[in-house]
Amino acid sequence: MTTLAARAPGARMRDPRRVLSLAWTLAFTDWKLRFYGSVLGYVWTLARPFAFFGVIYVVFTQIANLGEGIRYYGAYVLMSMVLFQFFSEVTNQSVTCLTARENLLRKMRFPRLVIPLSVVMTALLNLGMTLVAVLIFAIIAGVTPHWGWFELPLLIALLSAFAIGVGMLLSVLFIRYRDIQPIWEVTTQMLFYASPILYVATIVPEEYQRPYMANPIASVLTEMRHSFLDPTAAGAADAIGGWPRLLIPLAIIFGSLALGIWAFRREAPRIAEHL
């Protein structure tokens, strides 16, 4: 047993099962802590999107009349907000995730990838809980369950891939530049209005439609509208002008993921000492 291997710490997935099991343990613990000791825990997680939704719904249907002529506008706004909140939660939590886990990173050896992965997992658990309420709302609002609903997991997977890519990049940037946090908060705000959440993508003027749809979030939400709510509404492919063009938002999603992984792997061995 004299197999002396040169080792260096890193983000590497030498044992993917261990990475997943570790990330899951951290994520589940985090998630559970939110509900711990508070009976209303679940209600509180729902309170934020639903309260915000209530205000938005009243303002935009009764005052601004944005929802006019759009089937299930209420369900669309709610679903979009919940999905965007998921993206926002993952990326914003990722910014500080490494500093928040400082005591683990500085004291233990484990693949560093576990940390951002656990952020996504916690957010997915939250999303799952909220989606139950959203689906009930949609059914009450008159949406009939149909096969298109099975496209939802794929859309969530794409959104997760985008979020974790951006998140990993932000997490290592934050170690170097501490003003990433406010910068990203503002960026998230801007992204909220730049994505079809309070309105639908089809009201964007024709000439801007295609560049607009390059935003992966816009594509995901538009496709969600088509598959989840109203099969007669334009899907992402129609809005962007044909299937081949969908490669643009897809390239952005997987490009971010690749960039995030590259940056994270590059920084991983030295994360502990830079914290």
């Binding site: 002396l4 040169a6 004291k107 003003d179 502990a272």
Partner: protein, 439 residues
């Protein structure tokens, strides 16, 4: 450092070194030359070749993107801290290896390099088998969760699978003696209880090489004893253990070999007894210098205290049993002629209480006339009837009629451990009679 040059081949002597330690000695049967020979023949478990690690300490801690954009070409300045320098080391399988050194000597950095938390700048590290990153107990424990949940999470973090963690759960809890508190949130635990939990988890994780960083300082005596028993078990199972500590008693008791680090460099590697001695010299040598710098009063231009010491039976001592004769002594050189100088001794215990003072003036002693350049030894003898403690001696010299102003006074210049068979709680334990008279 005269005694520091211990060669690596200098294996331990066969005599039991630990007869004096108060804990039962578990390992002595194995502390023989044959064990040393066996270890020398064992395969290498940990190999460290010329490892160096330097930290860059930027002058400005948190740089921002804004600054980076506004001043793209401004170079960032930093200090270099050489935490570990060119350390080479081989640890054999089954060896219990101690790393000692003062604060900031680089021992924890080295351990973190071994654990794979830091990447060395140069050199290579090889570990045979599975490593338990046992760097610090209680990492990853969460106060909001119960002992049950914490044990599982900690075990997974340390490398068990979830199934294994669940299987070993009962053993973990039994060892920590926390059966009655399983569903109590950890924040309601005493610190000793959480340490017990963390230690129990850590030893249940199968590992071939264990890294232990100063963990035995916490926990009560009974639990410490259990930890030592676990170390003994791990040792008998042929595990390799690397222990970082300040406690020389632990080093001498458990380690097969030890290494002394100072300013990131290896001072010596060798037999634990010699390493402990070198460590103590390093430490107390430093304390002595500090005493000279900080707590010397008087000009010492007229009279200079060269040294002070405790003695017994004509020999200088570091420890003494109760009832023995205790001698206090100082050596003084006069740089100017002087008549009837006053010599004084003050004895303080470990919490700074003055327990004994004597001086030539109090004894109404004429000390005589001394010439410039003359040296003198001053001695006081008494019976050791003090409470057990570490005692420090402050010698001083003053001019007759000079009041409180000393020509030279060196605080806490010498120290001695005065033992006693029992601690009565009083400062003194003089010979006394005890009578109960009825009526």
């Amino acid at each position: 450092m005269a005694s520091a040059g211990v060669s690596e081949r200098n294996k331990r002597p066969a005599k039991p070194l630990l007869a004096l330690t108060r804990l039962p000695v578990l390992l002595d049967e194995d502390r023989t030359a044959s064990r040393a020979e066996r270890l020398a023949a064992a395969p290498v478990a940990v190999s460290v070749q010329n490892v160096s690690k330097t930290f860059k300490l930027p002058h400005q801690r948190y740089s921002t993107l804004k600054e980076r954009v506004l001043h793209p070409f401004r170079s960032r300045t930093y200090d270099e801290l050489r935490a570990v320098q060119d350390v080479t080391l081989e640890i054999r399988q089954g060896e219990f290896f101690g790393i000692v050194g003062r604060n900031g000597s680089g021992k924890s950095t080295l351990l973190k390099c071994l654990a794979g938390i830091y990447e060395p700048d140069s050199g290579s590290i090889g570990i045979a088998g599975r490593l338990s990153p046992f760097i610090e107990l209680g990492v990853g424990l969460n106060g909001e969760l119960t002992a049950r949940e914490n044990a599982l999470i900690n075990a997974v973090l340390l490398g068990l699978t979830r199934t294994q963690a669940k299987e070993r759960f009962d053993d973990i809890i039994a060892f920590a003696e926390l059966e009655d508190f399983l569903d109590l949130k950890l924040k309601n635990y005493s610190s000793g209880m959480s340490v017990r939990l963390a230690f129990s988890v850590a030893i249940e994780v199968d590992a071939d090489v264990l890294l232990v960083d100063e963990v035995l300082a916490v926990g009560d005596a009974a639990f410490q004893q259990k930890c030592f028993e676990q170390f003994a078990r791990l040792k008998s199972e042929g595990k390799t253990i690397i222990l970082v500590t300040h406690d020389m008693a632990t080093v001498e008791r458990f380690c097969d070999r030890a290494m002394l680090l100072e300013r990131g460099e290896v001072v010596s590697i060798g037999e634990p007894h010699a390493i402990a001695r070198a460590y103590n010299e390093l430490n107390f040598g430093r304390l002595l210098h500090e005493a000279v710098d900080e707590s010397r009063s008087g000009t010492h231009r007229v009279a200079e205290i060269l040294e002070a010491w405790f003695e017994s039976g004509g020999e200088r001592i570091k420890a003494l049993a109760q009832g023995e004769r205790l001698g206090l002594a100082m050596r003084v050189r006069f740089h100017e002629a002087i008549t009837d100088p006053i010599f004084a001794f003050t004895l303080r215990n470990d919490i700074g209480h003055t327990v004994f003072v004597t001086s030539s003036m109090l004894r109404e002693l004429d000390t005589g006339t001394f010439e410039a350049g003359e040296e003198v030894t001053v001695r006081v003898g008494l019976e050791h009837r003090f409470a057990p403690s570490q005692y420090k001696l402050t010698p001083s010299v003053a001019r007759a009629g000079g009041g409180a102003d000393a020509l030279d006074m060196r605080e806490d210049l010498a120290s001695v451990m005065l033992h006693a068979t029992k601690a009565t709680g009083g400062l003194l334990d003089p010979e006394h009679s005890f009578e109960v008279i009825r009526g």
